[in-house]
């Protein structure tokens, strides 16, 4: 009974800007071995015919030079820290990567004006609640960072992402992502990732990225194992 009371308090503690109680997604969440349900993306012909090495080399270069990794790469780290502000106006997602945290504005604003907003690797995200589900809409992506997509394809400046965050019980979070980008996907690409609540007092490590480290650079850009010969 006590755990039930605690769980209720944990999951319904926040009120959004509408004044209605919303689920509380705050906390540390980790991936498990069975977290990913990612079908192959149905790619547009031009992307499907590409040499996969092009995307591989692009992403390895971005990692080698410590560029901001961006979405969706940051969402596939573990653990992630979701902070849902008590005033209901913002949700922030932080990761162990040296990368800007995601800002999801839930204060009722629209997307930033594209005439003044410089595209970024994490895009411009706004969110609203549909009953128990936080629906996040993101545009304004740059083509920087690790752009490969789970299931195939990649993020571009024209990508549009809709994510649906929903608690599946107090200790499991489902995030269903749908990417739309006609030049990349023949039809919108949808996958689901499930996060599990991390143990109490979990903390985020800081995984450093050192672009000045030549040995690291060679390891990442040269053929696998070549440094060991």
């Amino acid at each position: 009974m006590l755990s039930g009371v605690s769980a209720l308090a944990q999951t319904l503690a926040h009120s959004g800007t509408s004044g209605k109680a919303t689920p509380n997604l705050s906390g540390y969440w980790e991936l498990h071995f069975d977290s990913m349900n990612v079908p192959p993306a149905q790619l547009a012909p031009a992307i499907a015919s590409e040499n996969p090495e092009v995307q591989f080399k692009h992403d390895m270069y971005e990692i080698r030079w410590c560029h901001f990794f961006g979405v969706p790469y940051v969402m596939l780290q573990s653990p992630i820290d979701i902070l849902q502000s008590t005033n209901g106006k913002e949700v922030v997602i932080a990761t162990p990567l040296r990368n800007p945290s995601r800002h999801i504005y839930t204060d009722g604003r629209g997307h930033a004006n594209p005439d003044t907003f410089d595209p970024v690797s994490g895009g411009n995200s706004i969110g609203h609640w549909e009953s128990e589900t936080l629906v996040v809409d993101t545009i304004g992506f740059s083509d920087e960072g690790v752009t490969r997509m789970p299931g195939g394809g990649r993020r571009t400046k024209d990508s549009h992402l809709v994510e649906r965050f929903r608690l599946v019980g107090p200790d499991q979070l489902s995030v269903v992502s749908t990417w739309d980008d006609p030049k990349v996907f023949a039809k919108p690409h949808t996958y689901e990732v499930r996060y599990f609540r991390a143990p109490k007092f979990t903390e985020l490590r800081e995984f450093d990225c050192n672009a000045a480290d030549e040995t690291r650079g060679k390891y990442l850009l040269e053929p696998p194992g070549s440094q060991l010969k």
Partner: protein, 251 residues
Amino acid sequence: MIDRHLGLGLARVAALVAILQGCIALAQTAPKPAVPDFSGFWERKDDVGGGNFGGTFAGIPKASVKPEILEQAKREAAAQAQGYVVSYGSRWCLTFGYPFFMQHSAAWDIVQTANEIAQVPEVHTYARHIYLDGRKHPDADHLIRSVNGHSIGHWEGDVLVVDSIGFTGGGMTPGGGRVGPNTHLVERFKLLEGGKKLSITSTWDDPSIYLKPHTYEMTYHRSDPGTYAFEEYCHADDAAQAGSVVQPEQK
């Protein structure tokens, strides 16, 4: 007889458990004292000096540091005078250590929850996590040093008091102080003028660096509603990033 005593005992235990459950449930559902809401974007403005950004440092006292730190500062100033105007860290986009982003011109974001507060910068470093859930600092065997250190906070009335240790070190503070692996920082966050401003009083202490604790206050202005975060990137592979007057020494 034994059965009757056992029955009475069980009844008392059951009653006690029920009372305890009620107390715990009440404690969990009772409203906690309201704490100030720091959430939102904050930025620095020079409202006491000549209006220039550099003026925001005008009121910061000089740190009282050990002679070897002063000598190091003199060497760095001499190198700058000779044209080494871009540091090794800037050249290679190395991670900024705390409190760099607190001195930066870009706004930074506070996200506040019941158990944690994060300070989220735009520059190439990590969000800073301040744990409010009652945890302690890890002991020396379990402490993982980080650029933001390990920070725990508690409320003293309407003041958030944050205690930090475990810095990787190498950073600098306003007023000419340094951050080392054994540095201890205490900060006091307080809203001013009905929440329009945020005062942060910082006290840095480290006998290997300071002759006495270095204390200063910085004030931040709440950014306009609708402010959103940028990503302030740094490209170490861009030749322009190495644009110092004299190429910095490659270590």
